[in-house]
């Protein structure tokens, strides 16, 4: 077996120099434009770290406190910048600690290149100290993975890794490099990869499919769009807005599609899915044409597939052919890059407005407002709600903040109530639902977008899953704002226990430490509030601070997140209480 694939390449540095493999790793990263990487050193990656020390003026290494933190920080960096995030770790436990972040990046289509050190090639398969088969372990959760055992392979494989990670539907790539390959010498010349023979990164949009889609959309009486992250990844926000406005189509978003169109847009009808808005979920089963754009019909979106949009003709735009008919049978599939496909669609659409149909969404919104939203963001009961915290953050940041949420009730509240007026503003773990994501991801996001407000919204459970990254915040002086919504419960699980397990709160109540003291122990300015009258001042102070800031908000212990579609139920059976 060979390890070479026929690739297309473009020389970017043809002054060949004789260098060790470890230096080739760093020079390759620089050639790919990497300026920040996140990682943790160890025995099998030490030669590369030695080179990073030498090149520290050109590439900034961020020492996280755990490799999982490195992977999530690289994800945060990638999600807000649209560039490839890079994480680096040693062999064995260092490499396996990256896996959760890699799996998260895979399901949320986040471009990552993870580099792991490996024991020397003569020790492979011998159960050597800190040896694991990381290529084998990572195979099901990577877009591509590869092991390098010869120094000469380093530039070519890394070039291919970056090309694969960022092109088409993005994803994580893992490159494992043996220690002898890092020490070995090579004649270094860097050629950027511009194509891989066996990989069609962006299928060309078929104009006939676009025409068929346009015909269906033009004939629709009650059309509805559900867009996903594919719009953001394809940089197609302007094209989507033009399509929506020309055809007058009420448009909803999946959790990862949030922020592609501003929250305040009159045709933005809210979020679909398990804790999405009432109207778009309910009316999914009344629209006559459902237009899915860059979304994958996740089970959290569709509920029971047997009762999902059965009355509608389905038009699906996606870059990934394997998504077509995977969960929902389509009438017309348009495979290709969303920017290109939507640009082709626009001139074929008839200018329309669907006022009566849009009014149906507004009417259902009014019901949701009365029964749910009003209580969440304008509460009259004594305890603080998560929703009013989000409302206050919206006010203080004028809806311009990038919200990095963890996983649980607070995540759903953040996605429901944050004002997203700038694209790439909702950074969360959508597909994998990884608790512990937000703190390190917020570090990466803030470092990639230092001019933006980056606010991490975290529950007391998830915060303690990667609490050690407060050390990274402090050491790197990252002015990220950390809001812990503390209800002393694993809130979402508790909600399910309340609703479906007769309030048997098995192992969901948390006795928490003094978070403020911990944050202050990391030299981070910190405050705890528990009263409504303290909220406005605390959020103002946090947003105004030029440094990192930790705010603990003690919220109602047993609040629930509604609306809710119980698992396996139809989207029409969405509950308001």
């Amino acid at each position: 077996m060979k390890t070479e694939t026929q690739n297309k390449t473009q020389v970017v540095a043809n002054n060949t120099i004789r260098i060790p493999g470890s230096e080739a790793v760093v020079r390759s990263l620089i050639a790919e434009g990497v300026d920040i990487l996140y990682g943790y050193p160890g025995g099998a990656i030490m030669p590369v770290y030695d080179e990073l020390y030498k090149f520290q003026n050109e590439i900034h290494h961020v020492l996280t406190r755990h490799e999982q933190g490195a992977a999530h920080a690289a994800q945060g960096y990638a999600r807000i910048s649209g560039r490839v995030g890079v994480a680096i770790a040693t062999s064995g436990p260092g490499a396996t600690n990256l896996i959760t972040g890699i799996a998260d990046a895979q399901i949320d289509s986040t471009p990552l290149v993870c580099i792991t050190g490996q024991v020397a090639s003569h020790l492979l398969g011998s159960d050597a100290f800190q040896e694991t088969d990381i290529v084998g372990i990572s195979t099901p959760v990577t877009k591509w993975s590869c092991q390098i055992t010869k120094a000469s392979e380093i530039p070519g494989v890394l070039a291919k890794a970056f090309y694969i990670a960022r092109s088409g539907r993005p994803g994580p790539v893992l490159v494992d490099i043996t220690k002898d390959a890092q020490f070995g010498e090579l004649d270094f010349e860097y050629k950027k990869c511009t194509g891989v023979r066996s990989y069609t990164s962006v299928p060309k949009t078929n104009p006939e499919a676009v025409k068929a889609a346009a015909d269906i959309i033009n004939s629709a009486k009650k059309p509805m769009i559900v867009w996903g992250q594919g719009v953001i990844l394809g940089k197609a926000e302007a094209e989507l807005k033009a399509v929506i406005e020309k055809a007058g189509i009420p448009s909803a978003w999946t959790i990862l599609g949030a922020s592609a169109i501003p929250t305040s847009h009159p045709l933005n009808i809210g979020m679909v899915g398990m804790h999405g808005n009432y109207a778009p979920n309910k009316l999914t089963n009344e629209c006559d044409v459902l237009i899915a754009i860059g979304m994958r019909f996740d089970d959290r979106v569709t509920g029971n597939l047997n009762t999902y949009a059965k009355q509608a003709k389905v038009v699906h735009f996606d870059i990934d052919p394997a998504e077509i008919d995977k969960n929902v049978k389509t009438d017309v599939a348009v495979i290709g890059d969303s920017k290109d496909s939507l640009a082709q669609l626009l001139p074929l659409l008839e200018a329309k407005s669907h006022d009566a149909w849009l009014q149906e969404f507004k009417d259902l919104y009014d019901i949701e407002f009365e029964k749910v939203i009003k209580n969440d963001i304008y509460p009259t009961k004594e305890g603080l709600t998560m929703g009013e915290v989000l409302k206050q953050i919206n006010i203080e940041t004028k809806g311009s903040a990038a919200i990095v949420s963890d996983v649980g009730q607070h995540q759903m509240i953040a996605c429901r109530y944050a004002d997203f007026n700038v694209s790439k503003s909702n950074i969360t773990s959508g597909g994998l639902g990884t608790m512990g994501f937000a703190l390190p991801a917020a570090i990466g996001a803030k470092m990639a977008a230092p001019d933006r407000h980056v606010v991490a919204i975290i529950g007391d459970g998830g915060f303690q899953m990667n609490i050690q990254e407060l050390g990274t915040v402090f050491q790197q002086k990252v002015p990220v704002k950390i809001v812990v919504l503390n209800n002393e419960f694993l809130g979402m699980v508790r909600q399910w226990q309340q609703l479906f397990f007769d309030k048997r709160y098995a192992s969901t109540e948390m006795t928490n430490p003094d978070f403020v003291t911990i944050a202050k122990g990391y030299y981070i300015e910190a405050k705890r509030i528990s009263k409504r009258e303290e909220l406005e001042g605390a959020i103002k102070e946090m947003i105004a601070s030029e440094n990192s800031y930790f705010l603990e908000v003690c919220v109602e212990k047993e609040d629930n997140v509604f609306p809710m579609i119980p698992t396996g139920a139809s989207v029409s059976d969405i509950r308001l209480s």
Partner: protein
């Protein structure tokens, strides 16, 4: 509606790279699909390998799984075909005590009638090789089992399709880009 489970031959044209088998088998494992047989070898195209995998699944599953194979970076193209759309065969070997050749004259008739081929004979044992459809091989195995089989091994299905598989055009298109 319950779809009929049928035998499908899945052909995957790939780069000849380490680790690809792992990726392909993981796709079956994740979906709880049992592999009936798997063969991998060079294909008609220089530098391109071909997996031939037999599975019992529904056509919807076959279509989806082929989509997942084509997503893999080093998979060039993947196809699925029914038995009617392919020409296929399997081969096997039997190791049998040499003494039986002389003590049980019926064995010679079985070998002749089954179109099996004697690969080697020595004092202790002889080896038979047989190619054909699964039922022919099973029939021979049943016949020989009566006399005692020292070793038996059957290789995976190999198959070619009746229709053309346009892999070469895809590769030419890449080279001409």
């Amino acid at each position: 509606m319950n779809e009929e489970i049928k035998t499908f031959t899945i052909s995957i044209y790939t780069e000849n790279n380490i680790g690809l088998l792992n990726r392909i088998s993981a796709i079956f494992q994740r979906r709880h699909i049992n592999i009936e047989s798997l063969t991998t070898s060079q294909s008609e195209i220089d530098g391109v390998n071909r997996f031939v995998i037999v599975v019992n699944i529904t056509e919807t599953q076959a279509k989806k799984i082929v989509g997942q194979f084509e997503k893999q970076i080093e998979v060039i193209r993947a196809f699925y075909h029914t038995d009617e759309q392919t020409i296929f065969t399997e081969s096997c070997m039997f190791k049998i005590k040499s003494a039986l050749l002389f003590e049980e004259p019926q064995i010679q008739n079985i070998i002749k009638e089954s179109n099996a081929r004697i690969v080697t004979v020595n004092k202790e044992f002889f080896v038979l090789e047989k190619s054909g459809r699964r039922n022919e091989i099973e029939s021979l195995r049943r016949d020989l089992n009566v006399f005692g089989i020292m070793q038996f091994v059957r290789a995976g299905r190999i198959a070619v399709t009746k229709d053309e598989m346009k892999v070469t055009e895809l590769l030419l298109a890449f080279n001409n880009q």
